[in-house]
Point group: D2
Chain length 232, copies 4
């Protein structure tokens, strides 16, 4: 009954707050990602909204991430999301400092530490090579590099800014070789995933390319094929 662990290459679907991925829609995208995972063997994970985490974690076997946690504990923190709450809801990890919910370096460090304390896998987002290097010192399990100007554009980072991906991978691995590196922004096709992996990334982070697709399952399968074309 437990959720499966993450494996690399990893395709992580961020639901953002898209209507299509809220409530029953949150289960739908997760089920389709699970289906793509079964069919291709590629590891998919999903990051629903806080209000949907428990429902999704009850409904699918693939790993579930929170989109955000606050570097707070259990106590007087009205309106915040402590890591303990998302663990209780069934999550295995959390995004930290997505460009739509950015944190300062101090807060990132505190959040990585708090996530670790409760057994959550931290996936820290970074919008530049410079930022990626800075957060590497906090030794999160995963860093996702996303140039924010490409998010939601359909122009894949792996084509528009290959140097950010390869440079980010080199910089991060040079500092901490065990940190896994994802890249994101504009990814919607299998070839975008292939390109990302060829540049040294170990997976991708994407959102609208799947969530708002006319046929999300088809996209998910293509992404997986793109991953397999390189990793196998």
């Amino acid at each position: 009954m437990a959720q499966s662990k993450i494996r690399f290459p990893l395709i992580l679907i961020n639901y953002k707050t898209f209507r299509e991925a809220t409530g029953r829609g949150a289960v739908r995208i997760a089920s389709l990602a699970e289906e793509a995972s079964r069919k291709t063997g590629v590891c998919f994970a999903v990051a629903p909204q806080a209000t949907d985490l428990r429902l999704v974690a009850m409904s699918v076997e693939i790993p579930v991430f929170s989109q955000h946690v606050d570097p707070v504990g259990q106590g007087q923190f009205t309106g915040h999301i402590p890591p303990e709450a998302v663990v209780d809801a069934g999550c295995v990890g959390t995004l930290i400092s997505h460009s739509e919910r950015p944190l300062g370096l101090e807060a990132i460090e505190a959040t990585v530490r708090r996530a670790r304390e409760v057994g959550l896998i931290p996936v820290v987002c970074a919008d530049s090579v410079w930022k990626a290097e800075a957060v590497a010192s906090f030794k999160p399990d995963v860093i996702a590099i996303e140039p924010p100007e490409l998010i939601g554009t359909g122009i894949p980072v792996s084509r528009a800014r290959p140097e950010v991906v390869s440079g980010g991978v080199q910089a991060i691995k040079g500092l901490e070789k065990d940190i896994r590196v994802l890249c994101g922004a504009g990814i919607s096709k299998g070839e975008d995933v292939s390109a990302a992996l060829r540049l040294g990334a170990e997976g991708v982070l994407l959102a609208s390319g799947v969530v708002r697709a006319a046929d999300p399952l088809r996209v998910l399968l293509e992404l997986a094929e793109g991953a397999k074309a390189v990793s196998s």
Copy 2:
């Protein structure tokens, strides 16, 4: 099967992020509040963490509030909580700008408007008479006045700062007579509720007094008796 509506006097239990009120604990406090409501006829509502809203709303009939929503919509807002998400989870309302999650006036106005658009009852928190007057112009259904220095102290606002309660009520009602006024901070006894209602408040907002009580149900029943002593 639908949740009941709010009535006044209203006793609103804010779970904050207390461990005792997370996951199964969130259902526990809500069930005990429902029990106190059944036994006394007084309206109780609860405000669990975002990750527990759906589970609590499925489990009890009393009204469920979110502790916070962001003034965003459905779309590219990773890590935020749009009002639509908490409606989908079964909430009837939301706290806004609690002193532990304060917003600027502009954000409060935007959040009240967004909550309204989706049918959520906005309960705006204000830490002073001045702030209460300012937010009254946004015409939220409810304003909760809480001097933050008394929160979690066990020193009730209705005794320590009665002028804040009565002054706040007068100021708010003078501007918008239909806005309901709650008060909070340090409330843990029936007499605190009685005192609040005598000062013109139409209910109370409290957290640790219930959530961390050795016997939450006993406290809930006492609070209800305090409300009935005045309102009946």
Copy 3:
């Protein structure tokens, strides 16, 4: 947020107690049926086990049926399933007297009546034309004809026993023209659905053909295409 209504032709997936369709598996099959419904416009419904009804009804928009209800009320009926319980869990209808859970005529009549009282759509199973005629007098919304000797065989009733389908349709419609007729047993392909509809059925009931398929979504899409080939 409410579940959609049933439409005809209807493809109703009975989960039986298959492991593949239990718990998270129950959500999986429902999500895939929902996907097939979105892609083809054909109405799919699912009938999970009693313990999974609420989870599935929370997770998908397609109609959810119980596999069985007892003709009892709310009270001293330990170990039974009153229609009220499955309504509370989010179901729109129920199978009655499936050949693996057969009831006598008196119990069928009582169950149809009790289902109706609480707004559940009764789908009565009949293993022969004779039985179908007998239950038609109880005026259930739907009768599903399934020769039990073909269940789970992969030999479709529409090919092996076409006279049971066409004879059943004629007999039922002759008695009560508003009753909808499904047929089942051995159905696993689009052409089985086409054949069934050509024989006068208004949908099919099937289980292992989908639940135990290597690729359930592919089967679901084929079934829908089979339905569309005739109904459009």
Copy 4:
């Protein structure tokens, strides 16, 4: 997050199909039983309807039982409840052959064996000393003796038929000393529990005394006090 284990003396609340204990009502009674357990240290367990098992098991920490399982497996058993399904829903045990859902000896034996295979605690009900002796040979963990003519009467078995309780205990323990013995029927007061324990029972099984009480928590606390008066 896991449910707690059962301990003796055990007070097991059978929800039957009472309206008051359906859906949100199912969570309510479980939460109140959990509260009584916290306040008194006495072990309470609940047996909700099949459709509510998962919701209740998610919502409380006390042990959850099914009211019935069928001696079937996972497969072609439409409308049945295999033990695997209730384990997946979060149950720790199951009632077997309650007098409102009686099974023949052969079915009881098969059900006890199937429950064991999946790690469910079997609690076999017996309506007489003779029946209790017969089922003891199947070595269920627990036997609950309930003279059906006293069920729901408010006339406690421990007073009306003390010889059935003491005789049952002696007979069962004479055959299999490790089997735990509960008694039930007509139990609604603390003194009924005390009397039962003095007659050698290690707990009680009851339903309407709690579920239909005007104040279920008061009854639950009294039952626990009755248990403590003897066991401590």
